[in-house]
């Protein structure tokens, strides 16, 4: 028929109409339709071809769907666990040239699935708002506001002066300037430390903290002085508690702060920070400040980054499933006996995993029953497991059929 009439190509409008139709039918994911829209523009198509393409894509999509009963959990676990054998054990890797190190590879992956409360290298990527992201100077201001500055870091000396009966802090001008603080601020902060350290007197860059004598105490105890000394030395003057170091790096057109140590809550409150993009790699911290959905995303991102960095190709769906399982209850659950495995409903499954005896004893006391819904239980009693072809049963009684 093409030979008779001149070949007619569909217009963009027609394509658009088709795509909108497709979208309304809701059989294909939006992302796929969007991709299709992009690709179709590159070709000249007849209407028949367009229909054919859409038909074939729909068919291919239907073909790619998971089937009911598929053991997606086991496959996800294998897909993440198997490459673990190929990962390096090297803990440290230098992000960039000479900056701080990051835990990567297998140890980090274990940290993620363990949902550790204290990851070995917590870091934040602090993005800046429009005012601060362009100029080095502005970025530095924000950095100074984030980086924790303790007395120790800005003082020449911190000493116990027995003659004064207190702690003498000799502040360093250059260091203070570098950190963006001044002696007044230091004195003020020291005065505000609770519980009270004692009387704070300032003479230019020299600050003396004299602990107060409690009732009944006649002279200053050395032990008490020592305690106060420690407190003065570690007193937080500026920045966010826990943020050990801040680095300014150029990332494309903008400046980004990288931190060693995290304090997301504090940083999000700091002026100049873009709160919509700033993130931490500390899963629990994210869960507390931004909520469980954010924590899920961080688990996914962190795990994916670790695998990508090692050059291991793992489908994102596997990682998503693990993250979803870890966060399904609204709280972060570890993969292991203190989390998901310890909360399994079946006694047999729990006993077969770890701490066998305790689970059995426990079950005997409260009179647990096992409904044999899980995999381990059914393996133990020697039945087909309820997965894949085993999750299908025939509800037909042969004897009844005979009667007919």
């Amino acid at each position: 028929m093409n030979s008779v009439s001149k070949q007619k190509y569909v217009t963009n409008k027609q394509i658009e109409r088709k795509l909108v139709q497709l979208r309304k039918r809701d059989t294909l994911p939006t992302r796929l339709i969007e991709e299709l829209r992009k690709r179709l523009g590159d070709h000249k198509l007849t209407s028949a071809q367009l229909n054919r393409i859409i038909r074939e894509i729909s068919a291919a999509y239907d073909n790619s769907l998971v089937q009911p009963g598929e053991a997606v959990g086991a496959v996800a676990a294998q897909s993440i666990g198997e490459p673990g054998t190929q990962m390096t054990l090297k803990t440290f890797h230098f992000a960039g040239v000479a900056e701080f190190s990051l835990t990567l590879g297998l140890p980090r992956l274990i940290e993620i699935v363990d949902a550790r409360r204290n990851p070995s290298t917590p870091t934040m990527n602090v993005y800046l708002d429009e005012e601060h992201r362009a100029k080095e100077q502005h970025a530095r201001e924000v950095a100074q506001g984030i980086e924790q500055t303790r007395v120790e870091r800005i003082a020449q000396t911190v000493e116990i002066d027995l003659a004064e009966g207190g702690i003498v802090v000799e502040l360093d001008k250059d260091l203070m300037e570098n950190k963006g603080v001044n002696a007044e601020l230091v004195a003020e902060k020291l005065d505000n430390v609770r519980p009270n350290l004692g009387e704070v007197t300032r003479d230019k860059n020299r600050i003396i903290v004299t602990p107060e004598l409690r009732e009944g105490e006649e002279a200053m105890h050395m032990a008490k002085l020592q305690k106060t000394f420690d407190k003065v030395r570690d007193a937080l003057i500026k920045g966010q508690d826990g943020v050990k170091r801040v680095l300014i790096k150029k990332e494309g057109p903008e400046l980004v702060l990288y931190t060693e140590g995290t304090n997301l809550k504090g940083v999000l409150r700091t002026k100049g920070v873009d709160t919509t993009r700033t993130i931490s790699n500390h899963i629990h911290e994210i869960a507390e400040t931004l909520g469980i959905e954010a924590a899920r995303q961080v688990i996914i991102n962190e795990a994916k980054d670790v695998l990508d960095e090692q050059g291991l190709d793992v489908d994102i769906r596997h990682i998503m499933l693990v993250a979803d399982l870890m966060t399904a209850t609204g709280e972060i659950r570890q993969i292991g006996r203190h989390g998901i495995s310890g909360e399994q409903s079946s006694v047999l499954a729990r006993a077969a995993f770890e701490v066998t005896v305790r689970h059995l004893i426990q079950a005997s006391v409260i009179g647990e029953e096992d409904n044999l819904n899980g995999i381990t239980e059914n393996v133990i009693i020697g039945q087909a497991i309820p997965l894949g072809t085993g999750s299908i049963d025939l509800f037909m009684s042969p004897s009844r059929r005979k009667k007919k």
Partner: protein
């Protein structure tokens, strides 16, 4: 429950007969074949075994419950034995517990713990106002009450007395389900004696009977129990009775758990600690993990594997000896009865034969002991089942440990072969992670039609070509297959008619040759042509080969390195075939497209035809690597020496700067760290530059370079180490620094920081390492070995935990992902419901491929 009381602390008498009311009383069940059980009258297989009991002279604490007993003692009143909770708070907890009961049908330990904790705080009883004392618990089984006048020991009798008086309502709140148990049962007055089947005695070759550890322990219990009873009855002094009571407690405790902290484990005469009940259950070798979660199976075989490139990827070569031992049950029907008779006549020794006949009444005939098989063959009738030998074409499961992913167990078709190893195609090595340096693999024969169907449809090798991990092929060419593919398809390779025919014949191609590319002086075909013949018709695809030099502007099919692979309508028009095109674990490769667009069968056909061809090609051409592959020209060697000595100078300058304290500290690094980092950088650069010189020298005419370039084996670093310089050896990510005081070896002066003194290996492998370099190299190498060993165990444990946490998760019919309790984990799997194994490298649909296909077809 008990069939007999056990009184005698002995097992057998002088004649070797079990003593009645002893630990091996025949009433406890039989373990000897042929014997009938005195209790149930069944024989070995049917008799389940029966418990006996020991009546303890005095009650003792059950160790495993000791902690709970402590909590109970604290929580109940010492006078009225009521739970020390005020009524209102009792009610509050009760409501919660009731709710949980309603929902799950059992008690909640957490609520019970809260109850016990709160009740334990009360200093006076809210019910009878009696004063309460602190309960002290001394591990593992002793309790004290701390009164004003001092601690008073609570004997198990006292404890039991209190626990007995707990009301059912209180029990319920404390987490004791009175339907199944009672709190005073945590104190034992009677000890169960497990059936003999649980603790069989072993007769050694010398005729000496050796008893099980549990029996030994029971002997101890009975003996002490007896002494205790006698002493009590004789009115012995309190002190002696208490000592014996304590001893009884010890034996009962270790009977249950021999690893209780606070007491020494009971030992065998040889000094080995006894393996009692708790030890039998727990751990990797315990009952749960070793016998319940994992079971030994019949119909399996294990032997060494070896390669066979002439098999199909779906096949496995099975030694005839194994084929004669493993059997498949086959039902005799009217249609196969003649064949079955033939098998029976062949018997267990002949092949193909048959090992057993199962008659319709269930009786098995073992053909090994049948003299005249003719009778059995004639007696065969429909309804009989014969267990025939494994035959070529049967489907079996093939497995290599560690079974890290589902491709570690795949179904293969049997091909019975001579000799004694399993044979498999090399292309399936990657999924199994197998090599042939002595690896062994297991084989299992499915015994039912359903199992065979599932194996064939779901587990066959060709069905596993696409990995669920990333939606790409995991099966594909390795090593020489890749080198050979490169040799075949590079521009310079042309073949005359004889060669072409030989190659194509090995691939199983039986049709006409296409028109030759070169006509004179004789007809010649290009390697690309020959490769194209085996490609599926209509395949369209383009990709960049592994040898791609990553030029700034890609010239596509006009690539000077022939690295742009272009396939149009099933013809390889440009580019060489290497790892990127047919390698294992390469997404977006030729193999991937074939498997995805033409199906698994076509992919298998492709591999089955191309692989033998490649083997023949590389065998004919010859492909090897020798030392001349890494020998450089004198100029290049001089150049490399120059680079290395320059680096050395630079290094010593750095040392000077460092020692003069003039080094600029990097932010956040100590001076020493800064120095080390700079040094490492200098040396790494030197090695890379040296390697660069070497690789410029070594061209594609060297086989070693072909291997690294195509991805067949090795990498550029390996080449550089062989040809130029081995480079810096590292331990724990830093230069080697330990050994002697302030120096690595006594050959250096103290504090020497120069490259050579800290493990820099200047020599190449070709040149050879001097003794010092060799030593450093060994240090670095050892670390690598240790690393691998540690990694396997840590990653193995992570995998076990992942599997355990995720194994119950599956997709339901409504498309949701749920765990075994039906809790929803995801509403739609992976947010789009796409199975990664059926996806196209993670994407649901490859739109480009479809568009291209539609357009090319309609043109």
């Amino acid at each position: 429950m008990s069939v007999t009381q056990v009184i005698t602390a002995d097992t057998y008498d002088e004649d070797g007969l079990p003593i009645s009311s002893g630990l091996m009383d025949p009433k406890l069940g039989t373990i000897e074949p042929g014997q009938r059980c005195k209790s149930c009258g069944n024989r070995v297989g049917e008799c389940p075994g029966h418990f006996g009991h020991i009546e303890l002279a005095r009650p003792v604490v059950h160790v495993s419950f000791a902690k709970l007993i402590k909590k109970f003692l604290k929580a109940i009143c010492r006078r009225c034995a009521r739970l020390k909770l005020k009524d209102e708070s009792f009610q509050k907890y009760k409501d919660r517990m009731d709710a949980h009961w309603e929902k799950f049908g059992h008690l909640n330990q957490e609520i019970a713990d809260e109850v016990l904790k709160e009740a334990g705080k009360a200093t006076t009883c809210p019910h009878c106002e009696a004063e309460q004392y602190k309960i002290k618990f001394e591990k593992p089984t002793t309790f004290y009450e701390e009164k004003m006048e001092g601690s008073v020991r609570l004997t198990p009798t006292d404890v039991r007395d209190r626990l007995e008086r707990i009301t059912p309502d209180d029990s319920y709140m404390m987490g004791i389900d009175t339907r199944v148990t009672r709190s005073e049962w945590m104190i034992l007055t009677v000890q169960p004696v497990p059936p003999v089947a649980v603790r069989p005695s072993i007769t050694l070759e010398s005729g000496v009977k050796s008893e099980d550890d549990l029996t030994h322990k029971l002997v101890d219990v009975i003996r002490i129990n007896q002494r205790l009873r006698e002493n009590i009855e004789a009115g012995a002094p309190q002190l002696i009775v208490e000592d014996l009571w304590e001893l009884l407690q010890y034996h009962v405790t270790t009977y249950f758990n021999n690893e209780v902290s606070g007491i020494p484990p009971a030992r065998h005469r040889s000094g080995r600690a006894l393996r009692t009940l708790a030890q039998r259950l727990k751990g990797k070798e315990g009952r749960f993990r070793s016998n319940l979660s994992g079971k030994r199976v019949d119909f399996s075989a294990r032997t060494v594997i070896s390669p066979d490139p002439n098999l199909s990827i779906n096949e496995v070569g099975v030694p005839s000896e194994i084929a004669r031992t493993l059997t498949v049950p086959e039902r005799v029907t009217e249609w196969n009865i003649e064949d079955m008779r033939e098998l029976v006549l062949q018997g267990p020794q002949g092949y193909p034969g048959c090992n057993y006949i199962v008659r319709p009444d269930g009786k098995r005939i073992d053909l090994r002991y049948v003299k005249d098989r003719k009778m059995n063959a004639d007696g065969l009738a429909p309804g009989y089942v014969i267990e025939r030998h494994l035959r070529t074409g049967d489907v079996v499961l093939f497995n290599r440990q560690p079974s890290l992913h589902r491709m570690s167990i795949m179904a293969h078709e049997v091909k019975v072969m001579p000799y004694r190893t399993f044979r498999l195609h090399l292309v399936v090595c990657p999924p199994y992670n197998a090599d042939f340096d002595g690896d062994e693999m297991n084989l299992h024969v499915p015994q039912s039609e359903e199992a065979r169907a599932e194996a064939r449809i779901l587990m066959l090798v060709q069905e596993q070509i696409l990995s669920p991990r990333y939606g790409g092929p995991i099966i594909g060419g390795i090593q020489d297959y890749i080198s050979s593919a490169f040799l075949l398809t590079r521009k310079s390779s042309i073949f005359n008619k004889r060669q072409s025919c030989q190659l194509l014949a090995s691939a199983g191609y039986r049709e006409d040759l296409p028109p030759p590319t070169i006509l004179k002086p004789e007809p010649m075909w290009t390697g690309k042509q020959i490769f194209s013949i085996l490609l599926p018709k209509g395949l369209n695809l383009s990709l960049k080969a592994r040898i791609c030099q990553k030029c700034d502007v890609c010239q596509k099919e006009h690539c000077p390195h022939d690295a742009y692979v272009l396939i149009r309508n099933g013809q390889l028009l440009a580019g060489v075939i290497d790892k990127k095109a047919i390698g294992a674990a390469q997404p977006e490769s030729v193999l991937h497209r074939i498997a995805k667009d033409y199906g698994n069968s076509e992919a298998r056909r492709f591999l089955d035809s191309i692989c033998p061809l490649l083997v023949v090609l590389i065998t004919n051409m010859g492909f090897s690597m020798g030392i001349d592959d890494v020998i450089l020209t004198p100029t290049a060697i001089r150049q490399i020496e120059q680079i290395l000595s320059d680096a050395e100078k630079e290094g010593s300058k750095l040392v000077q700067i460092y020692e003069a304290d003039e080094l600029q500290r990097l932010p956040g690094r100590s001076l020493e760290e800064t120095f080390e980092m700079k040094m490492i950088e200098i040396l790494a650069r030197a090695r890379d530059n040296a390697g660069e010189v070497a690789s410029q020298q070594l061209g594609l005419d060297k086989h070693a370079v072909i291997m690294t370039g195509t991805g067949a084996k090795g990498n550029a670093l390996n080449l550089a180490q062989m040809a130029a310089s081995v480079g810096q050896q590292a331990v724990r990510g830093a230069r080697i620094s330990r050994g002697y005081r302030k120096r690595t070896l006594p050959h250096f002066i103290k504090g020497d920081l120069s490259p050579q003194a800290r493990g820099f290996v200047v020599s190449s492998y070709r040149k050879g390492l001097n003794p010092i370099e060799f030593f450093f190299h060994a240090m670095g190498g050892r670390e690598g070995l240790v690393d691998t060993a540690v990694r396997t165990s840590t990653s193995g444990y992570m995998q076990r935990r992942l599997i355990n946490a995720l194994q119950d998760v599956k997709v339901e019919y409504d498309g949701t992902v749920r765990d075994s309790t039906g809790e929803i984990i995801q509403f739609k799997y992976g947010e789009d419901g796409v199975d990664p194994a059926r996806s196209d490298h993670g994407k649901a649909v490859n739109i480009d491929v479809i568009i291209e296909r539609v357009l090319s077809e309609e043109r």
